[in-house]
Subunit: 121 residues, 2 copies
Amino acid sequence: MSKQDVHLTRGGGCCTPISVAALDEAEAGVGAAVFKALSDPIRLRLMSIIASAGAEVCVCDITPHFNVSGPTISHHLRVLREAGLVDCERRGTWVYYWPVPDRLRWISALLSVPEDVVLAH
Amino acid sequence: MSKQDVHLTRGGGCCTPISVAALDEAEAGVGAAVFKALSDPIRLRLMSIIASAGAEVCVCDITPHFNVSGPTISHHLRVLREAGLVDCERRGTWVYYWPVPDRLRWISALLSVPEDVVLAH
């Protein structure tokens, strides 16, 4: 079910920032899909809770943070998973989530502005 | 018209990564709005063209890269501007765009995974 196999590298290397080279249509499609997963406030908060936990997080410990239903949380978690930002495993009654560091680093690097890059203005 | 005055800092400093601390609702709302601006493939390509140009870019040099109408491009550029990612100035017939480095650095830092942060798995 994971989409982590979506091609994420650009040109000869990983993560060429957009401040260094413009994206082609295919690259923009992949990047936009990941940003779309982060474009909802609930999903972005979910992502931050999972990313900052320092350990796997049980969905049972996530839902109390939100005033929305369990199925709604599950839907948002699925979107994050399909974007390759988190992964999960069911153990008994509960599902446990953890972040995918490479995906976070890739999307962060895509937006980075290297020190030696001079932007207009 | 710019929304660059939206509060972007977190806690005691700028850009605490989500891998370090979870976002509250207000922070997630601001972040999600910026990611939403980048969640469209055309807008993400536009952003990359403007960010990587190394100089101001005339809208007249942007539209030939896309198979969509001028008004559509203008709409997408307005979304990027309202998200604080680009700014622009009209000079005579044309509008010129440039990236907002602080906004790019902020959103990149938000997603970064510092070397000393240990993520689950």
